[in-house]
């Protein structure tokens, strides 16, 4: 048993983090060019398909490593695009057969798609799209078929005034798919992997929220010194740090042993940790975090919108108790 990354693995993870941070910083989150740049850089370096089998051009990295990349993606607040492109879309392509793969794969491996990702295995269209950006193709599952809509044929419709590229993907009336293939629904293994990588992204997002808050309370002076010296603040942030450590370990455990229970535990704890971190961020930054003058609002909104993906916390908690629950849990 070795429940830690060795040096080679850490080097890879650090490299991905550097690539992402070079292009994307929270202050530039709303800048489409930065987002495009980060995404394409990630694709060019091969990280998007790092977890894929060699026959699909991937490096066959184990799920724990894919999760670690997902965490880095979360750290730059890149939404859930990594989960979509690294786990869900490849699974669809694999199910659609080699011809479909030949048509689809080059596009998404080059970072050409980070669009609409279905929520579950029932083949229904998603009502939420995570991290979709204008200028990219959108993919959707439609009645057992996987279809691709080119850039320009869809728009992102978020809740009014959120100021964040998370919202419902809505196809234009004249939208025509440019590729269509038969697709198989996600198998349970794919959904488990997606949930793990999604949870990793939440941990990463929480870690960045914590790091920014720690930096701020170390500088912000009130009552004659930095507010970070007050135990009310230190202890609040220590609790967040503990949650993030626990959640990240749960993600890694689930990546190594992706049983239903382990995956649900990772989901529960990642949601809790990310929630605690982003709430603490708003509380400790104070009034400025209630405005668009500061990027804290982007973190909070990303956290709140992401937490409902891949099942609610109630559903996951019931999956942990197993046969004691009479409620059928379908994620």
């Amino acid at each position: 048993m070795d429940f830690r990354f060795d040096k080679d693995e850490r080097d890879i993870i650090d490299q991905v983090g550097l690539t992402l941070r070079r292009h994307l910083r929270p202050a530039r989150l709303l800048d489409d060019a930065s987002v495009d740049g980060a995404w394409r850089a990630l694709a060019e370096d091969g990280w998007i398909h790092a977890g894929l089998a060699a026959e699909f051009g991937g490096a066959e990295l184990p799920l724990a490593m894919v999760a670690a990349i997902g965490r880095e993606s979360g750290r730059v607040v890149a939404g859930d695009a990594y989960t979509n492109n690294a786990v869900l879309l490849p699974a669809l392509f694999a199910g659609a057969g080699p011809e479909a793969l030949a048509d689809f794969a080059p596009g998404f491996l080059l970072g050409d798609g980070r669009g609409l990702a279905p929520q579950g295995g029932d083949g229904e269209q998603s009502s939420w799209c995570f991290g979709a950006e204008p200028g990219f193709a959108a993919y959707e599952i439609d009645g057992g078929r996987l279809v691709r809509y080119p850039a320009g044929s869809w728009e992102l419709r978020g809740p009014a005034g959120l100021g964040l590229a998370i919202g419902a993907v809505t196809l234009r009336a004249d939208a025509e798919p440019d590729l269509t293939v038969d697709a198989t629904p996600f198998d349970p293994g794919t959904l488990a992997a997606a949930n793990v990588v999604h949870a990793a992204g939440l941990v990463g997002l929480g870690e960045t929220a914590l790091a920014d808050t720690v930096e701020y309370v170390g500088q912000r002076e009130q009552f004659g010194g930095p507010i970070g010296r007050f135990q009310a603040i230190k202890h609040g942030l220590a609790e967040v740090a503990v949650w993030l450590e626990v959640a990240w370990n749960a993600v890694l455990y689930a990546a190594l042993q992706p049983s239903d229970v382990a995956v649900s535990i990772a989901h529960l704890q990642a949601v809790e940790a990310c929630d605690a971190a982003t709430r603490a961020m708003v509380q400790f930054f104070g009034g400025i975090a209630m405005t668009w003058e500061h990027h804290a609002h982007l973190y909070v909104k990303t956290a709140q919108l992401s937490r409902f993906r891949f099942g609610s916390t109630r559903e996951h908690a019931l999956r942990v108790v197993g046969e004691l629950s009479t409620e059928a849990v379908v994620l």
Binding site: A238, E239, L268, Q269, A317
Partner: protein, 374 residues
């Protein structure tokens, strides 16, 4: 990164499990101190006590991974290291003497610990020195070739059973803080020592206040130099916080399973309202297991643990309190095992206080991990 046991680890687990079933489970329920001490002596005879100690000090030289397996299997068999009478000697004093003891002290004191012949207790806390450990007032006055003790220690677990006590005493009232203490080994079977058990919330008395009035410590039983006791004690506290907590995880999992049994006895419609909380509590318990795995893996690789042990202490204590709280509420609802869960609820209050209170752990985490100002 992997969770697989090596063939060697797997074989060791089987070997330990068989041995425990054969030699230990017949002793009793381990509620009595004498039974727990007998278990320690049998473990010692098989080389399982101090299994992780280096071979040069008579230990088994076991890797952290093997020691963690032993820890978990002992918990399953009802003799977790956390309730072993030898734990203060094995986990705290032993590692301290290996670093700071003279060869003579190592020769005299380590072997009886490994044989479970000498039961130790720890004398750090005092009425005015709880979280502020350096504020020790218990005096050790030099008279001839011995220190004469005046003062008291408190929260001393198993003091009334112990043969020996390792303690911090103030040997120089004038020296600055952290330079005025000495680390001493006190023979508890001598005049000048009075032990007053303290009755806890539960009505039991696991720890005591110990009063010293003229008890003596020969200078040969001072560990490290006179006045350097703080440094020695830091090694002890470092040892205290480095163990993995797999035995706790097993113990709390067993309690969680008991809560599951109570839930099963409830009508489905009554049961359902508890399930979400129960699921979360079970999820949180696995955090103890995962932190233990991480600590064990880092220790095996020779990497720094940093304040991860503080994270672990905070996590297991608060998680267990939440679990027991839930168990107590369900017990009342189901009218099952109310006494047991009430007692556990009362007992668990102490877990966020002893071995470094939660507030201290949060200070450590915020300063050492997050780098926030003092």
């Amino acid at each position: 990164m992997n969770l697989e046991e090596t063939p060697r680890e797997h074989a060791f687990r089987e070997e330990v499990r068989d041995w425990l079933a054969r030699e230990i489970t017949s002793i009793g329920t381990f509620e009595r101190f004498a039974d727990r001490l007998e278990a320690d002596r049998r473990l010692a005879g098989a080389g399982y006590l101090g299994y992780h100690w280096p071979e040069q000090f008579g230990g088994g030289g076991g890797t952290p991974n093997l020691a963690a397996i032993l820890d978990a299997e002992r918990a399953e068999a009802g003799v977790p290291a956390s309730s072993s009478p030898s734990r203060f000697g094995i986990n705290l004093l032993g590692p301290t003497l290996m670093v700071h003891g003279t060869p003579a002290q190592q020769h005299e004191f380590l072997p009886p610990i490994l044989r479970a012949e000498a039961v130790w207790c720890q004398g750090f806390s005092e009425p005015e020195a709880g979280s502020d450990l350096a504020n020790v007032q218990c005096a050790g006055r030099l008279e001839g070739d011995a220190l004469v003790l005046e003062g008291s220690k408190v929260w001393t677990t198993q003091a009334h059973e112990a043969d020996w006590c390792f303690a911090l005493v103030r040997t120089d009232p004038k020296a600055p803080r952290h330079r005025n203490l000495s680390f001493v080994l006190i023979d508890m079977r001598q005049d000048g020592i009075e032990i007053q058990p303290l009755v806890q919330l539960t009505g039991q008395a696991e720890f005591s206040q110990v009063f010293f009035e003229g008890a003596k410590v020969p200078l040969a039983q001072v560990v490290g130099e006179i006045g350097e006791g703080w440094k020695v004690a830091m090694t002890t506290l470092g040892a205290e916080r480095t163990f993995a907590q797999l035995s706790r995880y097993r113990q709390y999992e067993a309690e969680a399973a008991r809560i599951g049994d109570m839930l099963r006895a409830l009508e489905p419609e009554t049961r359902d309202k508890w399930l979400e909380r129960y699921g979360r509590a079970r999820a949180d318990l696995t955090g103890i297991r995962n932190l233990s795995y991480k600590i064990t893996s880092l220790a095996t690789a020779g990497e720094e643990l940093g304040a991860l042990t503080s994270v672990t202490k905070l996590w297991w204590s608060t998680t267990h309190q939440r679990l027991v709280e839930l168990g107590y509420e369900i017990a009342v609802e189901a009218d099952l095992e109310v006494d047991l869960w009430y007692r556990l609820w009362l007992e668990s209050r102490g877990e966020t206080i002893y071995a470094g209170a939660s507030q201290i752990q949060k200070n450590i985490i915020s300063e050492r991990i997050l780098g926030l100002p003092r």
